[in-house]
Amino acid sequence: MSLSRAKDLGLPLMNLVRLKGIPILEQLHLEERLLRTSSHNWCIVNDGTDVPTIVMGMSGKPAQLLELGPVMEDRIPVIKRFTGGGTVIVDKSTMFVSLICNKDDVPNVQPYPRSVMAWSGSLYGDVFNGINGFQLRENDYVFGDRKFGGNAQSIIRNRWIHHTSFLWDYNVRNMAYLKLPSRVPQYRLERDHTDFVCRMKDYIERSDFVEKTIKAVGNQFTLKQVNLKDIDSYTKAENNLKTTRLLTLEELEKAMADTS
């Protein structure tokens, strides 16, 4: 859509930040800062992260979710993020898309989890249009009954973030660091990780996915590309509370000791 046409339609502005290989901790810190201290809408696309990293949701308990012995032995970083949802292991083959919105700029979406989730399902329905089997199933993006995209959100007074990690590809060995969680979607049945997930690369080209995602977002917002180095000018210094953090080795050791 041309900028003039978008302006004619009165679409709200959204800043687009395109990243490649940014560490996931840095990405999450950036997102939390933008959610809390910016008044703009943001779309962040990070093509892969640098090293395999485990990322748990706000309430995640390492002992329940992780095979702590191998995680510590192999020194896999473990992050607890500011959004809800489950546990993933991400690496250079994971693609990340995050959408931060003012609730008033998406007036047909109530600032509650299911409404935001439905809106995202519709947006990605446009991205994967023509690819058989895509749907938002419970809270996951799937092809058929196999998950390739995991979602999480954080909702504050007048804004929300919906972010997704897409399994472009994955290393089967990495899945072994994760336990089968106690809370699973019904459609998972009792499948283990390798039978439950699928690789997005088997369905769409990487560049196609990025361009179609940007286009789908551009149908609802006027996009303006912003470089990472210019982001400081969009945020305030105060209220910069970061809750996303890397867990220490001591914390992981204590978690393991507490269960034995």
């Binding site: 309430s59 949802g85 935001v116 999480a152 959100q153 954080s154 504050i156």
Partner: protein, 166 residues
């Protein structure tokens, strides 16, 4: 006497049998759009928290409207005892579905009690939002703040208007 209305959509959200009780309805309360319970005797914030002020203690939680829209609460993050809360500022969060949602304090003051039952049973926020699902008790530092909150009728209309707008 507390006025309660349970409508079918709320009952469905809590996986209860779908019944609508009309035995305590007052003509002042329209049920045409409001599908959540709103109690007399409480004050309400436009961010969907409630306050019960009794003497020098104010109890705070989230409303039935809020819990219904959030979905099943699986975790509640609450403040430390003796910490301070400020009106319209975040004091905690709940996790439901895949989301963390912040909870704003309707009043300012000191936290004098935290509902520790929510650690093991966060679902109390869904099943009993005004009673067992209370979150914090506060010693208000400025009781006049309560006057800026909505009463039951005003809050009921607020919920109706909010839902109708989407």
């Amino acid at each position: 006497m507390a006025l309660r209305m349970w409508a079918s959509s709320t009952a469905n959200a809590l996986k209860l049998s779908s019944t609508v009780s009309k035995s305590h309805l007052s003509p002042a309360f329209s049920i045409s759009r409001c599908f959540s319970s709103v109690l007399e005797g409480l004050k309400y914030a436009n961010s969907h928290e409630w306050v019960k002020h009794e003497g020098s203690v104010a109890t705070v939680g989230i409303t039935d409207h809020a819990q219904g829209h959030l979905g099943e609460v699986v975790f509640a993050e609450l403040p430390e005892l003796n910490s301070s809360v400020s009106k319209e500022k975040n004091f905690g969060a709940v996790e439901s579905v895949k989301a963390t949602s912040e909870i704003l304090s309707p009043i300012s003051g000191e936290v004098i009690e935290v509902n520790t039952k929510l650690t093991e049973s966060p679902g109390l926020i869904n099943t009993s939002p005004y009673e067992e699902g209370w979150m914090i008790k506060v010693k208000p530092s400025n009781p006049a703040e309560l006057e800026t909150l909505m009463g039951p009728k005003e809050y009921t209309k607020f919920c109706e208007d909010e839902d109708a707008a989407h």
